[in-house]
Subunit: 164 residues, 2 copies
């Protein structure tokens, strides 16, 4: 794709559209879950619910920028595995919200987030090899998902009646 060097901004729109579409599909699962979330016992170190939206918005912006930078530098041909893994982690990310909030399956959500963590780690490493700055932009996301996995596990174990 030689076009990527001539029209990089169209690519940015594309990566942003795919990333935010996945974010919206994931977010849709949590829209009617406020009562459910309020019922859950959560560990003392759980952040207030209002933190998640702004944090995820920032993380989605950073990951879309990272994917765009890799695509711009190497194109599909040069970064096929890295960009495919990026799309895979988007799907696992959206799926997590459905597992946890819509289907209320805490164990399945935990399995999903462990797999998600591995795919993000691999994506970050491959991004870094193409362009270090793109790898760096993925690090806050990897850190947050690490934290979210612990939170998922603790909340699941604390709510055996509410989370399968």
């Amino acid at each position: 794709m030689t076009e990527r060097t001539q029209h990089p901004w169209t690519g940015l729109a594309g990566w942003a559209a795919v990333t935010f579409a996945t974010a919206a599909i994931g977010g849709a699962a949590s829209v009617r879950s406020d009562d459910f979330y309020a019922q859950l016992a959560t560990p003392t170190w759980a952040p207030p619910a209002s933190v998640f939206g702004p944090v995820w918005t920032l993380l989605y912006i950073l990951m879309a920028l990272a994917a765009w930078m890799v695509w711009r530098r190497a194109g599909w041909q040069g970064a096929r595995v890295a960009l495919t893994l990026y799309l895979v982690q988007l799907v696992l990310n959206a799926l997590w919200t459905w597992c946890f909030f819509a289907w209320r399956m805490g164990g399945l959500a935990f399995a999903d987030i462990v797999l998600l963590w591995l795919v993000i780690a691999a994506t970050t490493w491959l991004f870094w090899r193409v362009r270090p700055l793109a790898g760096m932009l993925m690090l806050p996301y990897l850190a947050w998902v690490t934290f979210a996995a612990f939170l998922n596990h603790a909340t699941w174990r604390m709510n055996p009646q509410l989370l399968g």
Copy 2:
């Protein structure tokens, strides 16, 4: 939609996804047009081609924020006409790039951009009535499309062989 006040960030992802998807669909029309654009005579006040990408990226971000703010304040029920007009202007915006770059119909593109200008002006006005800051965020877009309409007209008239 009472959910909008509880999960505003999901809405932001949705508006960003729709807006950037339209931007990418529009941008796709211009990807293979560099040679064509280089052949066109342009007025002395035409900016360099490299300006358009960054400017449009900023304008898309601002308009997505504006639509999200209106949706968050009033919801679909309270701002149905305004938000529908927003979607209409997105379509007219993407269509312009196809008219001008893919189909090379300068007159049709000019008719489209005049209509686009009117719909943006109406959207801006309705956004302003719901939330003045949202209307303000649309003003750079309205100003740029005003300029782009003049540029479209001048370039169309200067290239009778290349632009129908």
